[in-house]
């Protein structure tokens, strides 16, 4: 083969190899770290997989927040006004967590249909509504 052409072939080969490695790294990382959002209705209807990291959310039901007096454990219920979902969490709830407020939690469903949350997000100000929660509310209202 012509030496220049050979050089080019090698260069192209290396670039292909590197981009294949990068693309597979990206695809793998993406497939591992995408968290789908489910509304309480979807979870009640069994659409959400259990023991897979998901996001779920809704409005925190009044008087549903119960704390363990000895630890930092807390249990509360969220609703989209059609169905309810119980969420378990251990740790510090965000400043804006309040009954009647829209929240999103990330975690896994256990065998009893309870979301064991690793993270609870309630963001920024009272007018702010997590968009997923807003959409879930709109959907359940429409039904």
């Amino acid at each position: 083969m012509h030496p220049v052409r050979k050089k080019r072939m090698i260069a192209v080969g290396i670039i292909l190899l590197v981009s294949a490695a990068v693309v597979s790294l990206i695809m793998y990382a993406l497939s591992q770290n995408i968290n789908l959002f489910y509304s309480p209705t979807q979870i009640a209807q069994g659409e959400a997989p259990s023991n897979v990291a998901i996001r779920a959310g809704g409005m925190v039901v009044e008087n549903s927040v119960r704390r363990d007096p000895k630890s930092l454990g807390v249990v509360f219920t969220v609703t989209d006004y059609a169905h309810q979902l119980t969420i378990e969490y251990e740790g510090i709830l965000p400043d804006l967590f309040r009954e009647g407020q829209g929240i999103v939690a990330q975690g896994r469903l256990n065998e009893y249909g309870v979301l064991v949350a690793s993270e609870v997000l309630a963001k920024h100000d009272e007018e702010y509504m997590p968009p997923e929660v807003q959409e879930a509310l709109n959907k359940s209202k429409a039904q």
Binding site: L25, N33, S71, L72, D95, L96, E132
Partner: protein
């Protein structure tokens, strides 16, 4: 009392001048009319003056509590301290756009001031391109987001207050610095477009654009560093980077901008990568615009998306499409005329910098993908998703480590071609030293091969930087200091910035390796041991701030028997919005930070308390500051001053 209408009127006038600036010099260029060409400078100055007048009027409205202005009433409150009142100007959508355009006009004025040294038509065309951008944004402000709308005759007695999260020193300076950075890339963009229009696509445009790009890059670096520092102490979880879409929006132009300053160097010095550099300048500014779009249109699930007004989103999207599409079209038509004739070897510095550009581009694209993926998913109705931080960590980490490995070698290589053997010869000792030293350090820690490798790479970079300097100063038979003084500032800028990368990397490694987090329930008198320290809750008191009431816990920290700090984390209730805020307490140190934030009050006296010990966390931002200083130092190299000849 100044009438806010003056501000609005000034903005309308500024828009007219911007339209004139966007068109007259261009017409002048095509018709070879000198008068029209020379009009660019005064037009720029007047436009800038008018925009700043309008900015000043709004600032006065904030400072004097003019709640008849809707925007002021939404983002300020009479109880706010004065410095927060003024900085509340950029606490919301309308005001931050005004800041954007004010900074753009300031950059344009600076370019106009320095434009005399540019060959005949280049200066005016550059200004005209900036004029086009200014026109777009002024139209956007005037039609969708004017901050001067009044609530008359019934205006509220007091304002709704600034979001408490934004009532912080970090947020006074973070947005202006960030905007200085990413709006500053418009200058490099304008130079690139002007080069395409005038056909002056030789290496000289790279020389003019370089100092501007360096300065913008330095500002952006500072802005991102400040943002990370703010998030660290204000959000109360002790993290320093969250891969939030808004953070990504500023990181993408930074990555592309970093690639740009390197490829500009190659284009200037060697005349290669010419068309790539032009494309990269377009790409970098496009990412700045995309960032503005993502943040300002509220399309992403993000903490910063204040506004969710669809007309605004559509307007910015249209602006984005016109500017990016137009410049890419121009590029497609013109760039084919560019031919690089210089060739280079596989191990020359050009090749190393090519690798730099490829890796930085890949990094930019991975961040872009992760940020836009939820949007694409949603657009095809596949469901609402979020891409978690683990994705970014998994992809970003290894690629940037690879980049840093090459960063050690590139500065030592020579232009055109370097002998492979010589490179190996020069690199082998630092590599061995780095690996050995890192192994030694890790014998005291839990061994983790990834962190160990990262630390070796950080050390390798430091050794190679030092080695390069020694080689350069001890090459001839002169005293070291004499030679050291003779090396150009540009070179020291590079050393400093590269050293900064190593410092940041060390910070990142130690924070992830050697930090502890404890969440406990504490009643007065309780003592908790975390790491080498004991924390004792003494009690809590109520305090009264200017616009909030707070409960403050007093926690004494002991190292053995010695009290090393008294920390006072707070839980604040901001009156105007009835909003709770956690104010973390910090005891900063060069090698470790103690960090306490209060959770909920669990009973009359007991709190849930979050205690962190963060190793070397300051190094992350220290590295950022070093990078910024490096960028500035390089921008103020003597040769630019001489060539620009003020």
């Amino acid at each position: 009392m100044i009438f806010p209408e003056i501000g609005h009127f000034a903005l309308i006038l500024a828009m007219m001048f911007a339209v004139a600036l966007a068109t007259l010099p261009m017409v002048g260029f095509y018709t070879r009319n000198r008068v029209l060409l020379t009009s660019a400078k005064p037009l720029t100055y007047v436009m800038t003056l008018l925009i700043w007048l309008s900015f000043f009027v709004l600032a006065v409205a904030f400072a004097t509590d003019d709640f008849s202005v809707l925007y002021v009433s939404q983002h300020s409150n009479s109880l706010l301290p004065i410095w927060f009142k003024v900085s509340a100007l950029w606490g919301g959508h309308e005001g931050s756009l005004l800041l954007w355009i004010a900074i753009l006009s300031a950059w344009a004025a600076a370019v106009a001031y320095r434009s005399d040294s540019l060959p005949n038509a280049t200066g005016p065309v550059v200004l005209a391109v900036l004029g086009i951008i200014a026109t777009g944004f002024l139209l956007f402000i005037l039609f969708t987001s004017s901050p001067f709308i009044r609530l008359l005759p019934d205006h509220p007695i007091d304002g709704a207050d600034l979001n408490p999260l934004l009532q912080d020193v970090g947020l006074i300076i973070h947005p202006p610095m960030l905007y200085m950075g990413y709006v500053g890339f418009s200058v490099a963009f304008a130079f690139a477009i002007a080069a395409l229009i005038t056909g002056n696509l030789n290496a000289s445009w790279a020389r003019w654009a370089r100092p501007w790009t360096n300065v913008s890059w330095a500002f952006l670096t500072l802005g991102i560093t400040l943002g990370s520092w703010w998030a660290y102490y204000e959000l109360g979880w002790g993290g320093w980077w969250f891969w939030d879409p808004v953070e990504n929006a500023s990181l993408m132009p930074w990555l592309a901008g970093t690639a740009l300053i390197h490829s500009l160097a190659v284009t200037e010095k060697r005349g290669v990568f010419k068309s790539w550099t032009v494309l990269l300048a377009i790409f970098t500014f496009s990412l700045s615009l995309l960032g503005t779009f993502l943040v300002r249109s509220g399309v992403l699930t993000s903490v910063h998306a204040f506004a969710a007004d669809p007309t605004r989103g559509v307007f910015i999207l249209a602006l984005l499409v016109i500017i990016i599409g137009g410049s890419l079209l121009l590029y497609a038509v013109r760039a084919s005329q560019v031919r690089s004739v210089v060739s280079f070897g596989a191990t020359g510095r050009e090749a190393w910098l090519l690798i730099n550009n490829i890796l930085l581009t890949i990094l930019t694209l991975t961040v872009l993908l992760g940020t836009l993926y939820p949007l694409v998913f949603d657009a095809f109705s596949l469901g609402k998703i979020s891409v978690g931080a683990p994705y970014f960590n998994a992809v970003f980490g290894p690629i940037s480590l690879l980049l840093i490995v090459f960063m050690g070698i590139a500065p030592l290589s020579k232009w055109h071609s370097t002998k492979g053997k010589w490179l190996v010869h020069i690199a082998i000792m630092p590599a061995i030293l780095a690996i050995a030293f890192s192994a030694l350090v890790f014998t005291f820690h839990v061994f983790d091969w990834y962190l160990w490798l990262s630390f070796s790479i950080a050390l390798w970079l430091v050794f190679m930087v030092a080695r390069d300097w020694f080689d350069k100063v001890s090459a001839a038979r002169q005293s070291i200091w004499l030679r050291a003084k003779k090396l150009p500032r540009q070179y020291y800028g590079m050393l400093l910035a590269h050293f900064g990368v190593a410092v940041t990397l060390v910070g990142v490694i130690f924070v992830s390796m050697n930090s502890t987090e404890t969440i406990v329930r504490m009643a007065p008198g309780d003592k908790v041991v975390v790491g080498n320290y004991a924390f004792e809750l003494q009690g809590s008191i109520r305090i009264q701030g200017p616009n909030y009431v707070a409960e403050q816990a007093i926690i004494n920290v002991y190292d053995g028997d010695k009290r090393v700090a008294q920390m006072k984390p707070e839980k604040r209730l901001y009156k105007a919005r009835q909003q709770m805020m956690t104010e973390a307490a910090l005891s900063p140190g060069f090698t470790r930070d103690l960090y306490i934030s209060l959770g909920e009050k669990l009973s009359q006296e007991a709190w849930s308390v979050r205690i962190y010990i963060k190793s070397f966390v300051r190094w992350i931002w220290l590295g950022g500051l070093l990078m910024m200083a490096g960028g500035l130092l390089a921008a103020f190299d003597k040769r630019y001053r001489r060539k620009a000849g003020v």
